[in-house]
């Protein structure tokens, strides 16, 4: 499996500490993301944002979480055979994981290039397929991790700290 890691400058220690001992999350939320279902796609991200808003997370951090999460959720709906979104809320950060049922990313480095897209006509007609999904997740995250391979499943996960 090919792997991609991104950790924003200055967050290396906090991310490593969390990954070494991630403890118990305070709230967990699960959503299924069906293939090509653009009526429900985005609902999971919307609900996570509402929860964090009630918890009093700063509005700029909220925006970053919502945008990264929405892009990842749309990716699962647009490019995979469906998958699951799992959000774990900790006292100082959120960790959201998207795991799908394939068909996998042939070349992750290429998929990270802004403007590169494999979106089909249906997806483009809806206004997606700008090739900015993964770059937009990276831009808004403190850490991002992708594990995938052609013909296999894809994991996209990211961590964003509340302050």
């Amino acid at each position: 499996m090919a792997e991609y890691w991104y950790i924003a400058e200055g967050f290396e220690n906090r991310v490593q500490e969390y990954l070494a001992d991630n403890g118990d999350s305070e709230v967990d939320m699960m959503f299924t993301v069906p293939e090509k279902d653009f009526n429900t796609a985005g609902k999971g991200s919307s609900e996570v944002k509402n929860l964090l808003k009630r918890l009093g997370v700063d509005s700029e951090v909220l925006r970053r979480i919502a945008v990264a999460s929405y892009e990842a959720e749309i990716n699962v709906a647009a490019h995979s055979h469906g998958g699951v979104m799992h959000s774990a809320v900790y006292d100082d950060h959120i960790h959201i994981r998207f795991e799908d049922e394939g068909p996998g990313i042939a070349d992750i480095e290429q998929a990270m290039i802004p403007g590169f897209s494999t979106a089909d006509e249906l997806v483009r007609e809806l206004g997606f397929g700008a090739g900015l999904g993964l770059p937009n997740i990276k831009k808004n995250s403190d850490a991002m991790h992708i594990v995938s391979e052609k013909g296999s499943s894809t994991l996209v996960e990211f961590i964003i700290f509340f302050s």
Partner: protein
Amino acid sequence: MTLRELVALLEGEVLFPEADLDREVPCAFASDMISDILMCTKEPTLLLTGLTNNQVIRLSDMIDLTGIVFVRGKRPLQDVIEMAAERGLPIITTKFTLYRCSGILFNAGLRSCKI
């Protein structure tokens, strides 16, 4: 500029009657690509677009949109209008093109949003 002034300038039609047209619009962004809209909207923003599917309304759950103008005479389906109404998100349709709308609003003093 208020939404009411903007509707007059664009000869627009408000798509649900309860919309708050006295809302102040600080700036605008125009695009038909969802990722562009997400990437460029960091403050309360009016969106001008030719997209009319439900994901355009869903966007307003993620980012702060003060209203949406559908250009080129586009009109979303009733369920999309209802989604906007549930959120109290004013939506407007105009027969003008995206370029013409942008020009009119820019000349009237509506600035581009910070990207």
